[in-house]
């Protein structure tokens, strides 16, 4: 790992200022960035820690919205969201392993947008809003393909606002070596209709399975999905599974999630 300067601001505005210096990069839990720096895939000159900004660490139910600070760890969400939004807490409780959950944060996970990450599915199916230091971004606009988001240079995820669905479920088919999902589905039943987000499957990262949403919105039942399948075209193929296998898994995980809700 190349050496760097390290700063730990206590306010969002100080962090934004620090990130404006050349080659500065945000550091949250470091569970993705530090391994990348070790292999020199990233070599920032300044690391700006976001973990000491009190305004970015909280879980708060606000009417029918769950608000989560951008630097809140997976462990804290698993503990504190269990009452207000159990499906989201359950997603957080299954990310990686306990030590990863002690450090990794929601903001880091969303900014990274790994095509196999868990949170993007929860955020997209919940129709959450990503609040940054400068604007609010709807989930449908935030995710822009594998490892790509709407975030600009130096922009910080300060908070995520989840409209709490009537019912929801995250079904994760684990890839046991990495502990990431091989493929996972987050199904949310909102009063306005169903939303289904699939992660770990597509070469374009997390995506909504629109056909399933339409079917479930008119009839929220496993049978409503009869005959529907995710197209294998554009799905990831690697040594863990072919694109056809992942497309199939997306269907199975969605059905399991619906079955668990009804």
């Amino acid at each position: 790992m190349h050496d760097f300067d390290f700063v730990r601001p206590q306010t969002v505005s100080d962090a934004v200022r620090a990130l404006a210096t050349p080659d500065a990069q945000a550091l949250s839990g470091g569970q993705t960035l530090l391994p990348a720096m070790k292999v020199r895939l990233a070599a920032p000159a300044v690391l700006v820690s976001l973990m000491h900004i009190p305004d970015m660490v909280f879980v708060r139910a606000d009417g029918d919205v769950l608000r989560v600070g951008g630097a809140t760890t997976h462990a804290q969400v698993a503990r504190e969201a269990a009452g207000a939004y159990p499906a989201l807490a359950s997603l957080a409780a299954r990310i990686g392993d306990p030590a990863v959950r002690s450090r990794g944060t929601i903001g880091g996970s969303l900014a990274n947008n790994d095509p196999s990450a868990c949170y993007p599915a929860g955020v997209l199916a919940s129709n959450a809003t990503i609040v940054t230091d400068r604007r609010e971004i709807g989930a449908d606009d935030f995710f822009q393909g594998m490892f790509t988001t709407a975030l600009e240079e130096g922009e910080i995820v300060v908070e995520v606002r989840f409209p709490i669905p009537d019912a929801a479920r995250y079904e994760k088919f684990i890839q046991p070596a990495s502990r990431f999902p091989l493929t996972a589905a987050f199904v949310a039943r909102h009063s306005g209709g169903a939303r289904v987000a699939i992660t770990g499957a597509s070469e374009s990262g997390v995506f909504r399975w629109h056909e399933a949403e339409v079917a479930l919105t008119s009839d929220f039942a496993v049978q409503a999905l009869d005959g529907l399948a995710v197209d294998a075209d554009g799905m990831i193929a690697d040594l863990h599974g072919s694109s056809a296998y992942r497309a199939h898994l997306a269907g199975v995980m969605t059905r399991r999630a619906v079955a668990a809700i009804v």
Partner: protein, 158 residues
């Protein structure tokens, strides 16, 4: 950069580079070599220590991030009189270690689990150890040891 923290109840400080990992500060500067480096890529859990009461992989935390933190390592696990803690004794009694390389991380993970959930079932223990790899594959006895420790009445009081 200067860094200071509390390690096993005692103040510890030193000069580090930004890139110094917590595990290297513990091992190379403080000479607490009980915390092991098995992979350096966040996979194996041999380096698990507690930071402010929560398990973390010390190979994936910068020393400067531990500024002001309370760190507990395997060296801080024994009882004040030097005898083994309930969990450590259970590992010995149930042959929960073979080469012993993964053991510090296993014990620290087990301690974190039993702090949150003093009476876990076998499934919970296996799930919780997801991030701890034993190259000798002694999982069965590791789980047995943790189950036995959880049955020891004094564990809930710790």
């Amino acid at each position: 950069m200067d860094v200071s923290m509390t390690v096993n109840g005692r103040p510890a400080s030193g000069k580090v580079e930004g890139r110094t990992l917590l595990v290297h500060f513990l091992r190379d500067d403080l000479h607490l070599t009980g915390t092991h480096v098995g992979c350096d890529t966040s996979q194996c859990g041999a380096c698990v220590v507690h930071m402010d009461g929560r398990p973390v992989k010390a190979c994936s935390v910068l020393a400067v991030e531990a500024e002001g933190a309370e760190i507990l390592t395997i060296e801080g696990m024994a009882n004040p009189d030097g005898s083994l803690s309930v969990i450590q004794q259970a590992f010995q009694d149930h042959h929960g270690l073979q080469c012993g390389f993964c053991t510090p991380g296993m014990v620290m993970s087990a301690a974190a689990l039993l702090k949150d959930d003093p009476h876990p079932d076998e499934r919970t223990i296996r799930d919780y150890l997801d991030g701890n790899i034993c190259r000798c594959t002694g999982y069965h006895n590791i789980v047995k040891a943790i189950l036995a420790a959880s049955e020891n009445a004094s564990i809930a009081a710790q």
